[in-house]
């Protein structure tokens, strides 16, 4: 996917869904991101991998404005997130799926999926519920519309969370370790939904430890280490023939288990 572009600077700023350059972030004394440049094209599925503490989750959270970069430019869906006045424009236009699901426990699956359609999009209840049911059907949970999160399995909860994001018709979907809180036998149903989304052409940025998902679904795998992008390429390149010793070590460790 890293096609050679004749006029890189001018073109990418317009066509890239996401363009980060020189992004730095520190939490107190800890420098988490030390100058990251990354671009994501429309329809591309990018998987961020790396050891915990490598900065991949922070990078993802910067892309949906849940964290602010200390330095650098962050363009997401043509919104400059480094411009504090314009950054809030991104909300409601990208979807975020969290490790801990973050479903609203006091609302049913349908209530979760329709809340923002009602309050943000200001749809009528009828239209919101119609779109909500469609979104739930996309993740295979049409029949669970009236269940509360506590009545659903972890895998089902995460699929509702995906439906909640999809209902807003997002330009990009972000996934922050979406299967890390799940029992192993429930991982497949969530990665299955994600794979379908990828096949349908959704632009996705995924932080995950599921190497099989990364291998099978990613257009590009980005290996982060110590707050920088150390290596990136197709899954075949990164998994089959990693250039960096650190990447080899990391893959060796995670693929062993």
């Amino acid at each position: 996917m890293t096609a050679i572009d004749p006029e890189p600077e001018a073109r990418t700023a317009v066509t890239a869904r996401i363009a980060l350059s020189g992004v730095h972030k520190r939490f107190g004394d800890l420098e988490v991101l030390k100058g990251v440049d990354i671009e994501v094209q429309p329809g591309e599925v990018v998987v961020l991998i790396g050891a915990s503490g490598s900065g991949k989750s922070t990078l993802l959270r910067i892309m949906c404005d849940l964290e602010r970069a200390d330095r650098g430019e962050v363009w997401v869906n043509e919104v400059p997130l480094h411009d504090r006045k314009r950054a809030p424009e991104i909300f409601g236009h990208v979807g975020m799926v969290f490790q801990q699901f973050n479903l609203f426990p006091h609302k049913t699956a349908l209530g979760n999926v329709t809340l923002a359609l009602l309050k943000v999009r200001r749809l009528s209840r009828k239209d919101a519920e119609e779109r909500g049911r469609t979104a739930l059907a996309r993740v295979g949970l049409a029949e669970k519309a009236d269940s509360y999160p506590a009545q659903l399995s972890g895998g089902q909860q995460q699929r509702v969370a995906i439906a909640r994001a999809l209902a807003m018709d997002p330009a990009i979907m972000f996934f922050d370790e979406p299967t890390s809180a799940l029992d192993p036998e429930l991982v497949g149903e969530v990665t299955g939904v994600m794979r379908t989304l990828a096949e349908e052409g959704m632009t996705m940025v995924v932080v995950t430890h599921e190497m099989r998902f990364a291998h099978d679904t990613a257009d590009r795998v980005v290996f982060m280490d110590g707050g920088i992008v150390l290596e990136q390429g197709t899954p075949e390149q990164v998994f089959g023939n990693p250039a960096e010793a650190r990447t080899q070590q990391f893959l060796h460790r995670v693929l062993e288990t």
């Binding site: 949906c64 404005d65 849940l66 909300f91 409601g92 236009h93 990208v94 979807g95 975020m96 969290f98 801990q100 973050n102 479903l103 609203f104 426990p105 006091h106 809340l115 923002a116 309050k119 943000v120 509360y148 506590a150 969370a161 909640r164 994001a165 807003m168």
Partner: protein, 216 residues
């Protein structure tokens, strides 16, 4: 002890009960509103406002309601605000005093809701106020309700302090009956029983609501 005097003075008790209920019911509403606002401000971490909220809490929780009520009523008169009624002074003092405690109850409830709920709402495009009212507050219910109603019960009983500025409520009318009959036992028992009759159903109602809220 002479119980016949209770019945013969029942008009006094009725008017006292009315005064108590009116003050308590209004102060429950105003105190809750103040408590919610102060809790929202405190948890928002807006620099100056959050500190003002803290200062308010410390002052009103650190001084007796009795002093506050006397200060507001007589202080207002001293400042030339002579048209303040005893009812208004009692209501202001109760609101600010009980509101300070309720603010801490609400704050504990708000802070018990995981941060991820704010984050999920934010990415979906909900504004801070929308998130607070539709996502956060409903989740605080089970945490907030028991101590909040405990505070309501305190508030109801604290209305008796308004006797010091001459507000006509149960306590004052009880004392009036004692003055007439020179029997302290039956009137005080009656006053206590009437407070209990107001408070006890509230306790029961909360217990029922808690039981209902449990499964969800």
């Amino acid at each position: 002890m002479n119980w016949s005097t209770i019945w013969s003075n029942h008009g006094l008790f009725t008017s006292g009960l009315e005064g108590t209920v009116e003050l308590a019911a209004t102060a429950v509403v105003t105190g809750t509103v103040v408590g919610l606002l102060v809790a929202a401000v405190r948890t928002s971490r807006v620099p100056v406002l959050a500190q003002l909220g803290r200062l308010y809490l410390e002052v009103f929780r650190g001084t007796p309601l009795l002093v506050q009520m006397l200060f507001i009523y007589f202080g207002a008169a001293y400042q030339g605000i002579s048209n303040i009624t005893v009812y208004e002074a009692a209501l202001i003092a109760l609101t600010l005093y009980e509101g300070a405690y309720m603010a801490e109850i609400f704050r504990a409830g708000i802070e018990a809701v995981p941060r991820g709920q704010w984050e999920a709402s934010r990415v979906l495009g909900l504004g801070p106020v929308q998130t607070f009212t539709t996502v956060i507050l409903p989740q605080t219910r089970t945490i907030v309700l028991p101590p909040l109603v405990g505070q309501y019960l305190s508030l109801i009983k604290d209305t008796s302090i308004a006797v010091v500025i001459g507000y006509v409520e149960l306590m004052r009318q009880g004392q009036a009956v004692i003055d007439r009959t020179s029997d302290p036992v039956a009137p005080y028992l009656t006053v206590a029983a009437l407070y209990f009759i107001i408070c006890f159903p509230l306790s029961l109602a909360v217990r029922r609501m808690e039981r209902k809220a449990a499964p969800a």
